[in-house]
């Protein structure tokens, strides 16, 4: 089977990357023999004629056309006319490109492992998609078009995450879709090094090295730390707001006083002149009356970290907390209940089932990493089977699917893992939503990604069958309006 991923082969054409970046000038494409021609300049319209277009989760249109121009979906419909000169792609099914909301693809290893991050650390500053061209190509060919990246994966506070498009032809800046997608924190993650005694399923005991579990008291204090960080942000925000009010009040007071003094000016002048004359008569110096001005309110000191934390306190960006154990999840929910603007997202959630109702009530989405683990893993993921996504959804929870945020090469296999959750109780539609509109909505990108609707970015897949059917091949991938993958047999 021949796969062409344009941009990796010399001679392919560079196109406008999308609304965020400037359009590249079109060039003559030197397609090598045997390569499917993917060249077209940005004046041309791309038309996808599909047997079925999955517009958004739950809504599909039979025999429809999707028109793409300048990296944006111009129109979707069954009655659309394909304009003259348009490049036409035919396929059985067309849907939005998949989003991996918990990925490490394109992050430098040192950024991922950085433990000294704080809330103001920007993952967008640590992007390195250049060394992983082959992984980007594989992920695209599997249907994943954008990812949320987070530096400081195991740090207490990971900082501001970024959502990035996977087109290997784009520079790190051009690929950025959102550089302040969320703030991440972690609770109860095992620490490298050391040994721990674990009980195997057959009852025997074994010493396992590599990951040292954090003890329950430390884990609880980590939850408290999360809460205190949010509180820091909240009080910083409060201080800002208070300052603005005080400043306003002070300025108002000054203005009023001035007005008053204007009114009494003549009277006051007369009184003063009289006093001056009296003093002169008695041969004394006239002492000017001193008026004290109210102190101007002091502006709260700028603090980058608190500035960032205030974003989560104010609900401007979501807070993603990686947490697994029941006790920590329950404590986290209980202790953050008072922050009424906080948008909480849980990542991992191996034991989230025990707090499923509370999570559903608080509308906290859980990003699940459906992983195939053998018996030799005794860390925070112990107990998380493929049924987790289905079971959480069954109890009313909102579930997203991600690749774990630790190893960039797993992003490519996310669609396969999603299919496995479907065979273990997660609804097909729910899984599709998790991979598309659900992830986009959680990270405030629903106006740009996640569905095939006019006005959104053109991140699209053309497949032979249902997107979650692992035997249905992905034939074309459009990323930011540019065809990046074309696979024929």
């Amino acid at each position: 089977m021949k796969t062409v991923v344009s941009g990796l082969i010399a001679g392919a054409v560079a196109l406008g990357a999308g609304p965020a970046a400037g359009a590249d000038p079109s060039q003559e494409a030197a397609a090598s023999p045997g390569e499917a021609e993917v060249a077209f300049d940005d004046a041309t319209v791309l038309a996808i004629r599909a047997g079925r277009v999955l517009v958004r989760p739950g809504v599909s249109v039979e025999g429809a056309v999707v028109l793409v121009r300048d990296g944006v979906i111009e129109a979707v419909g069954s009655e659309l006319e394909v304009p003259e000169g348009a490049r036409v792609i035919e396929g059985a099914v067309c849907c939005a490109g998949f989003i991996d909301p918990w990925s490490a693809l394109g992050l430098d290893a040192s950024v991922l492992g950085d433990q000294s991050t704080d809330a103001a650390t920007r993952t967008a500053d640590g992007l390195d998609p250049y060394g992983v061209d082959h992984l980007l190509a594989e992920a695209l060919a599997a249907g994943v078009t954008s990812v949320r990246l987070q530096g400081g994966q195991a740090a207490a506070v990971g900082g501001l995450g970024a959502v990035v498009r996977l087109d290997p032809q784009l520079s790190a800046t051009e690929a950025l879709v959102n550089d302040e997608a969320d703030i991440a924190m972690a609770v109860g993650l095992s620490v490298d090094g050391g040994m721990q005694l674990v009980q195997l399923p057959d009852g025997s005991y074994s010493m396992i090295s590599g990951a040292r579990a954090v003890d329950p008291f430390d884990r609880l204090s980590q939850v408290e730390r999360v809460v205190s960080k949010i509180e820091e942000g909240r009080s910083y925000l409060e201080a800002q707001v208070e300052y603005r009010h005080e400043l306003e009040a002070w300025e108002l007071g000054i203005a009023e006083k001035l007005k008053e003094s204007e009114k009494d000016f003549k009277k006051a002048k007369k009184a003063r002149d009289k006093k001056v004359a009296e003093a002169e008569e008695e041969g004394e110096e006239y002492k000017e009356k001193k008026y004290k001005e109210d102190k101007k309110p002091k502006k709260p000191k700028f603090d980058a970290e608190k500035e960032a934390l205030s974003l989560i306190a104010d609900g401007v960006v979501p807070l993603v907390v990686e947490v697994h154990r029941t006790a920590e999840i329950r404590n986290l929910l209980a202790m953050t209940a008072r922050f009424n603007r906080l948008r909480l997202v849980i990542a991992g959630g191996s034991e989230a089932l025990h707090a499923a109702e509370q999570l559903a009530e608080r509308k906290v989405p859980v990003i699940v990493w459906p992983s195939l683990r053998g018996t030799e893993r005794f860390d925070e993921f112990d107990g998380a089977g493929l049924e987790l996504a289905g079971e959480l959804a069954g109890r009313g929870g909102s579930v997203l699917l991600g690749s774990g945020g630790r190893d960039g090469s797993v992003t490519r296999d996310l669609p396969l893992l999603a299919a496995l959750t479907v065979s273990h109780g997660f609804g097909r539609e729910a899984a599709f939503e998790a991979l598309t509109l659900g992830a986009a909505t959680t990270f405030d990108l629903a106006h740009r990604l996640g569905s095939v609707e006019a006005g959104k970015d053109a991140d699209l897949l053309v497949l032979d069958g249902d997107p979650l059917d692992t035997t249905a091949r992905v034939r074309h991938v459009i990323c930011g309006g540019r065809e990046v993958v074309h696979q024929e047999d």
């Binding site: 089977m1 082959h134 594989e138 599997a142 399923p201 057959d202 992983s371 195939l372 683990r373 053998g374 018996t375 030799e376 493929l386 690749s403 190893d407 090469s409 797993v410 490519r412 296999d413 396969l416 893992l417 299919a419 496995l420 479907v422 065979s423 273990h424 097909r428 899984a431 249902d466 979650l468 059917d469 692992t470 035997t471 091949r473 047999d489």
Partner: protein, 370 residues
């Protein structure tokens, strides 16, 4: 397929245990009707019907009339043979490993079979009805494999394959052999004046399972194996695409090593290339380190890379059984073979398909009443 025919002759498929021509007794018969019956050799019967009695498949066809009194299972989806995982350590753990001497051809993996081990439960959950227990390749000849079922404590075949280790794990730093040459010389000796297991291997009665991990090891092994006109399978498929022609010419099968999410794309490309070249394939596991889900996951990754889904299913069923030398009992939905079946909610190679039921020896071991 000389080897397969030999095996069928010696095991006398089902006919040994059951008289296939005797009339069916309705009360003891289960009839399966499914939208698609995958026979395990690449063929699919639309609206197929399978009769099972006393744990043996008695009839397979389309439009067959069930005998009176038979219990009928109507399935909305696909029926396939149970999956056969070539190479695994289920339940064996450390019991399978003995590296005291370079040659232990008498070591029999079946003695380490622990049918109550929870590993088998997980394998059944993934539709795997038979596993080939294999000693690890930490010495030149660690023994023989055994084909066991994941339910019912059944040993289908003891001494199914003779294992040879030709990767660096069979070479030592301070014991003989320290070199490939030394290893090959010792093996040459065993096969030049063959006795016991080596004699059987040369006579074609005992296929080999040769464990390798690099391209040059494949070349080296094939050179040795073709010189002695041996038959069997290679275990280890990474980067095999660069030596596809040599593998094809040797008539050796290839057992693909298990795949995890995130594994190097080369693994999948290798398998797709081997399949396209017509090399007979099977999939292996090395549980318990790895979850049995990896078996079908690996097949799905290979399909994504271009392998035909029908060929992938055959590699997990009929071809796998043939490689392990038990093609006369397992791996296909065919008259006379064991009734090890899996019912799927959809296309079997689609990971989104659920397992509706699993039957081993005609008994339902997974799935609800239908």
């Amino acid at each position: 397929m000389l080897e397969t025919l030999t095996v069928i002759a010696t095991l006398a498929a089902g006919g040994d245990r059951v008289d296939l021509d005797a009339p069916l007794v309705g009360e003891r018969t289960t009839v399966f009707r499914a939208d698609e019956v995958h026979l395990g050799d690449g063929r699919v019967l639309d609206g197929g019907v399978v009769f099972v009695q006393d744990g043996v498949i008695r009839e397979v066809g389309v439009g067959l009339e069930p005998p009176t009194g038979a219990h009928v299972v109507e399935h909305d989806g696909a029926l396939t043979p149970g999956l056969v995982a070539l190479h695994g350590f289920e339940g064996g753990g450390e019991e399978l490993l003995d590296s005291t001497r370079p040659f232990l051809p008498g070591a029999d993996a079946a003695t380490a079979f622990n049918p109550d081990h929870p590993d088998f439960t997980r394998s059944l959950d993934c539709g795997i009805t038979a596993v080939v227990l294999s000693p690890p390749a930490s010495i030149l000849c660690p023994g023989t494999t055994a084909v066991v079922k994941t339910a019912g404590a059944v040993v289908v075949s003891r001494r199914a394959q003779l294992v040879l280790g030709l990767s660096t794990s069979a070479l030592k730093a301070d014991e003989f052999p320290t070199s490939y040459a030394g290893a090959l010389a010792a093996l040459d000796e065993r096969f030049s004046e063959p006795k016991g297991a080596f004699r059987s291997a040369l006579d074609g009665e005992l296929p080999l399972l040769v464990k390798i991990s690099t391209r040059s090891q494949i070349q080296r092994a094939l050179g040795f194996l073709t010189r002695h006109r041996l038959r069997g399978a290679l275990y280890g498929s990474y980067w095999a695409e660069e030596v596809v022609d040599e593998i094809k010419a040797s008539a050796f099968s290839v057992i693909c090593t298990p795949s995890d999410p995130g594994d190097d794309g080369r693994w999948a490309r290798s398998i797709a290339a081997l399949s396209a070249a017509g090399v007979r394939l099977g999939f292996g596991l090395d549980a318990p380190g790895r979850h049995p889900h990896c078996l079908r996951f690996g097949a799905a990754v290979a399909v994504r890379e271009g392998m035909d889904p029908g060929a992938a299913l055959t590699a997990l069923t009929g071809d796998a059984a043939a490689i392990a030398g038990v093609g006369g009992r397992l791996g296909r939905v065919e008259r006379g073979l064991d009734a090890d079946l899996v019912l799927w909610s959809g296309e079997p190679m689609d990971l989104a398909s659920e397992i509706s039921a699993v039957y081993v020896d005609g008994k339902r071991v997974r799935g609800g009443e239908r």
